[in-house]
Amino acid sequence: MIVSMFGVLFDGLAYGMLLFLLSVGLSVTLGMMNFVNLAHCTFGMIGGYVTVTLMNSMGWPFLATLPAAFLVAAAASVVFERTMFRRLYRSTDLDQCLLTIGLVFVSVASAAWLYGTIQQPVNLPSYLRGSYNVMGVTIGVYRLFLIGMSIVITVALVGALEYTRFGAQVRAAVDNQRMARGLGINVDGAFAVTFALGSGLAGLGGALAIDIVGLDPSFALAYLVYVLIVVSVGGLGSIAGSLVAAIVLGISDMAGKYYFPEIGSFLIYLVMLSLLMWRPVGLFGKR
């Protein structure tokens, strides 16, 4: 019983970390510009396809494709932001939703056209496969890698936001955009960079997710629900909030499916409901 509990905690933590990488960018950009970007997971999907293409067509090693997935997803997001999203910053939520959900459908269709609707294979290097058995608990090597990776990224992100001038500008813009503009901070510029960073992280998350959940053109939609749950439970604009929410949801999803498989898929929504009833603005939300 205790052993299985540790196993569930570990797997849930790893799953939560994956959700965190996919959603942290959306949380920050949503908090900063109030821009409802439902196409966030499209960037995750782009990252996934970059990794698959580089590995299977060009023979790159898995680890080397990860920075590429980050960069390509970030670059793609800049193009989208400059050409489309920025026109709608002052529009209503509905307009933003319509544009971005439209983009999701376009991206799903494009991926299906380019790669087909089939599953994309990714073969991890042998040192990332398999599992250890620590006192009865199965510890998957890849999940360990996921957790490690996410911790490094979280530390880097928090460090950048808390201790750099750019981070201070971003925080100021999230807290009070008008005031920040009034002080001469280039909010649009800061936002563009944050947007690219967040999308890049989604791309990285997409690349890392392939081995656990696979990759096909429906990726951009399949994860959207989870990402939105993480963002709303964590609170807009909060990295810590996203992290805690992602871990809580990852673990409750895993525990639900392990202990109560009959209702396992609902548990995550129950957790979301009760957390939001307790704190309507999210765990770490300010407004």
Binding site: T117, Q119, G140, Y258, G264
Partner: protein, 390 residues
């Protein structure tokens, strides 16, 4: 005078169209050519095209013309409307295709009412063929494959099984069929779970199955991303497949899933009616021709399309080109032939397929993962229909 002339012209025109209609037989193929199920649709169509390329488009002196209609995914209303339109407006006299159960069920009404011969080339739920007396099936049924697998599992020494299936119709069918075959043989189901249709990460489900300590795990999973995710989770959880037999229907180890799984897929056992690795001279030729035409391997969808066309061609030969529904279904009943999948027959009673169910294990042959057949159950009829009150 003028009236006579118009009348004569109309008569000539009518005669011309009816003569033309007699020389062409139109087959309405209704299935998904776009959307999530576009790839299975393309493979069924590949089977159809290859058959027509190899056997020509003339049967019993008539030209065969295919009219393709895209139902675009799970859309029974659309499939029904398209089936109606293709008969009424475009003059199709045979219906074929039907990739998905809801679509096939809806279109069966059309076939029954219009007394039109209908070849179900894929949809695999047992009940479908009972909905129209003019329908025959050339794919398989979930019941036939999985009940055979259940009985085989007990025979091969498995005694305690944990079942894990997708929580929708075909998954429940798979679970019920395997359980029936396994329990009737004497086995025990020690636990079961149904995972949500859109589940992404399978670790928790597989860990739970492992902790129940079975000597067999039965899985029913549709094609798509899930087979690979399950295969990897099984390997990552450290389940020793030499001690715990992991079994499922063929989708668990279809070609793309095995590519994604890599060596994690080794040792998975599946039951199915067709695989491109089936060892026969006829199948080797079929696979080679398919590759030459479409640059990929055929799969169970292609086999359904290929054999479906065979059934249509041979039935038309028997009726001498008549497309009368009663005549065609009478011709199809009891038809036997050698297919790339092995011997198959249309059951004269149920109009469903009778064929061999192969038991396969994933092995590495010449560096590639393939399903290697090592046992088989011959002449399997759909057991579900056999149990229904007549």
């Amino acid at each position: 005078m003028r009236r006579t002339f118009v009348g004569a012209a109309v008569a000539v025109l009518l005669a011309a169209t009816s003569a033309n209609a007699q020389q062409t037989i139109k087959i309405g193929v209704v299935m998904s050519f776009s959307g999530q199920f576009a790839d299975p649709g393309a493979q069924i169509d590949g089977g159809i095209k290859l058959y027509m390329k190899q056997h020509g488009d003339m049967v019993a002196g008539k030209k065969i013309e295919i009219i393709r209609k895209d139902s675009g995914g799970i859309a029974p209303d659309v499939a029904k409307r398209l089936s109606q339109e293709v008969i009424v407006r475009e003059g199709a006299t045979i219906l074929a295709g039907y990739d998905l159960t809801p679509n096939a069920l809806a279109a069966a009404d059309v076939s029954a009412q219009a007394k039109t011969f209908m070849v179900n080339m894929n949809a695999a739920t047992s009940v479908i063929t009972t909905k129209s007396p003019y329908m025959a099936r050339t794919s398989f049924t979930v019941w036939a494959v999985n009940e055979s697998l259940g009985a085989w599992a007990y025979k091969s020494g498995v005694r305690k099984v944990y079942t894990l299936v997708s929580d929708f119709g075909p998954g429940w069918d798979g679970e019920a069929a395997f359980t029936k075959g396994f329990k009737d043989a004497g086995g025990e189901i020690i636990g079961s779970a149904r995972y949500p249709v859109a589940n992404l990460d399978f670790t928790a489900f597989i860990q739970r199955a492992k902790d129940a300590n079975p000597d067999g795990i039965y899985i029913w999973v549709p094609g798509g991303p899930q087979p690979a995710a399950i295969g990897k989770a099984i390997a990552e959880r450290g389940i020793d497949k030499s001690k715990v037999k992991v079994m499922g229907q063929g989708e668990l180890t279809y070609e793309d899933a095995l590519k994604s799984m890599g060596d994690a897929g080794l040792g998975l056992i599946t039951a199915f009616h067709y695989d491109y690795n089936h060892q026969s001279a006829m199948n080797k030729a079929f696979v080679a021709a398919y590759n030459a035409e479409f640059k990929r391997n055929p799969d169970m969808f292609s086999a359904g399309g290929y054999d479906g066309m065979h059934l249509i061609y041979e039935s038309l030969k028997k009726t001498n080109g008549s497309t009368d529904g009663d005549a065609l279904i009478a011709a199809a009943k009891g038809m036997k032939w050698e297919s790339p999948r092995g011997p198959m027959m249309i059951d004269p009673e149920t109009r469903d397929v009778v064929q061999t169910v192969y038991i396969r294990r994933v092995e590495k042959v010449n560096g590639a993962l393939v399903n290697v057949e090592f046992d088989k159950v011959e002449n399997v009829k759909d057991p579900w229909k056999a149990r229904q009150p007549k």
